[in-house]
């Protein structure tokens, strides 16, 4: 069954222009999908439509077969789909880590004894067991985002959407967060929708879609998409720097294949013969 399904969905913020236009797309259970697009392309609107934070003007959105547009389903849908937002500071509701993680689970009426277990599970899943009684305010950005993810995990959703959750983090924090969601996807079978404009992060996904002006303009594996660099540029997206280097070297007459891995590219360059040191 599809975890998330959009059929001919349109949405506008009321100013006339469509933020999402005639969108058809689905995410299978257990899949890791990356959503790419420049600022204002409709990626975040897509995330908010998935669990009914925004209501579509037109079309049908369903989560595990349940329609999101029916009010009676909302409570169930939000248990299935958790969202982690961009700014770590805006998502903290309590001053102590364990209270913050418990918030969502308490709200859906999980029995008290079980909440304790869920907190332990969630903290372990994000690798922050030692921080159960820490002050949220004293955590780093990456740690705060991991606590936000733990808070979503405590609700035990089947789908996690990360809406540019790494945009405000430093490289180390970014890696922490992406590692955690990759592991949740691979080991726990969590369905993950990763919205990002860091091309490198999209590489972890099984499938990527590119959005522009509220429509999906490219679909495929991340590697497929990066190969179509000229098309990417028309949507204001740039290749990962390494892809650009591969292309330029090829244009300069060096026979290297496209790769996104530094070691592989170095190997390719080295195999072009015994280069002189310069």
């Amino acid at each position: 069954m599809d975890a998330i399904r959009f059929e001919d969905v349109s949405f506008s913020y009321g100013s006339g222009a469509f933020a999402i236009r005639n969108l058809n797309f689905s995410v299978r259970e257990g899949e890791f999908v990356a959503v790419l697009g420049h600022n204002g392309s409709g990626k975040s609107t897509l995330a908010r439509l998935c669990n009914g934070l925004l209501v579509a003007d037109d079309g049908k959105i369903s989560v595990f077969g349940k329609s999101v547009s029916e009010k009676d389903n909302l409570f169930e849908v939000r248990k299935e789909v958790g969202i982690v937002f961009q700014n770590p500071d805006n998502q903290t509701v309590a001053s102590i880590v364990e209270d913050d993680i418990a918030f969502g689970a308490e709200n859906i009426g999980v029995p008290r004894e079980e909440i304790g277990e869920r907190i332990s599970f969630a903290l372990k899943a994000v690798g922050m067991e030692g921080y159960r009684n820490a002050l949220c305010a004293r955590l780093s950005g990456g740690q705060k985002q991991r606590v936000a993810i733990a808070g979503v995990l405590a609700v035990r959703p089947k789908v996690m959407i990360l809406d540019e959750s790494t945009a405000m983090l430093d490289p180390r924090g970014r890696k922490e967060v992406v590692d955690v969601v990759t592991r949740l996807n691979r080991e726990e079978g969590m369905t993950v929708v990763l919205i990002t404009h860091f091309m490198e992060e999209a590489l972890r996904a099984d499938r990527a879609i590119v959005m522009n002006k509220g429509e999906i303009v490219m679909r495929g594996t991340p590697e497929d998409i990066f190969e179509r660099h000229e098309e990417l540029q028309t949507y204001n997206l740039t290749l990962p720097r390494i892809g650009y280097i591969c292309r330029k070297l090829r244009e300069g007459g060096l026979n290297v294949a496209d790769t996104l891995d530094e070691e592989k590219l170095a190997e390719e360059i080295a195999s072009c013969g015994s280069l002189r040191n310069i």
Partner: protein, 307 residues
């Protein structure tokens, strides 16, 4: 304005259990006209350092209540901290900090969160009016705002009456930067100017900084996590780690220490990673770590082999 810092120390929450020694004996010279980069991971002291440059954080000796320590017998005091920005001596109580701030513009991280006025025009004019000693005529204000908005790449007539909150993310950031540069500071300090923007937005912001650098602001100082950005843009870089300056040199030299930087928990530019990987395969490229130079040198290496 030349910036000279010697033996700077700074402790947050001194004499409390949360005391954190953020700067330890930091000495840096930033020449006039540089495009200077500061890198270091979170908590390394880089923001603490830049906040000294316009006196947001002060040297103890510039505080009203400061009394110099007298050395006990047989004890020598550590060297006195010194911080000079152009003719301003920031260690001196008598320094006119308001005049200093007019000439050292500071753009914080996510400056768009500090937009507040009802129209773009008012928002950009705010600092200008505040810093001016006499009352400015409407014409003068409008001209200054127009020039500032135009250099950041916005059309004055299109955006002046818009609410800053209606603009897109990239536009908001430009308005916020316009609000700082409108006073024509000689030194412009930016904390993570491109963070959170999409790749195109990043590129546009860096282009904007190069446009400002020179005529508009003589010296530009950026704090960044993005090593590629640093390698491509900066004349020199200081590396902060645990409150100390570990390196201070041009990127072309700095990233030859790629392995040491990685050991400090820092990232290095892609070109430096590629150079390391090539070196392990017996190929040494002497490049300055900009993407274009890396490509050129690699191609030259291959060309020489064929010749």
């Amino acid at each position: 304005m030349r910036i000279v810092a010697e033996h700077l120390n700074y402790t947050y929450n001194p004499s409390s259990p949360f005391a954190a020694h953020a700067l330890k004996d930091v000495s840096i010279v930033i020449e006039e006209g540089e495009f200077f980069g500061i890198i270091g991971h979170t908590g390394s002291g880089k923001s603490t350092f830049v906040q000294h440059l316009n006196g947001l954080l002060r040297l103890p000796s510039s505080m009203k209540k400061y009394k110099p320590k007298k050395p006990k017998k047989g004890e020598s005091l550590p060297p006195a901290p010194l911080l000079k920005v152009g003719e301003f001596d920031l260690a001196d109580k008598k320094t006119d900090f308001r005049a200093l701030r007019r000439r050292v513009g500071m753009v914080f991280q996510y400056p768009e969160y500090q937009l507040f006025a009802e129209t773009v025009q008012e928002d950009v004019a705010f600092g200008l009016k505040n810093f001016s000693d006499e009352k400015l005529t409407e014409d003068k204000i409008a001209n200054a705002v127009r020039a500032a908005l135009e250099i950041v790449g916005l059309s004055y007539d299109e955006v002046k009456d818009a609410s800053p909150f209606e603009l897109s993310g990239g536009q908001k950031r430009r308005v916020a930067i316009a609000g700082v540069i409108v006073t024509r500071p000689e030194v412009l300090v930016l904390d993570e100017p491109a963070a959170g923007l999409d790749p195109l937005g990043k590129k546009e912001i860096m282009e904007l900084l190069h446009r400002l650098h020179g005529d508009w602001c003589k010296t530009v100082v950026i704090v960044s996590h993005d090593m590629d950005e640093i390698a491509e843009n900066c004349s020199r870089v200081a590396v902060f780690s645990e409150g100390e300056v570990k390196y201070c040199m041009p990127p072309a030299e700095l990233f030859r220490h790629a392995e040491e930087l990685i050991a400090l928990g820092l990232d290095v530019p892609l070109t430096a990673k590629l150079c390391l990987a090539l070196e392990r395969r017996g190929i040494r490229l002497d490049c300055d770590f900009t993407t274009e130079d890396f490509i050129r040198k690699t191609l030259v290496a291959v060309g020489e082999k064929d010749a």
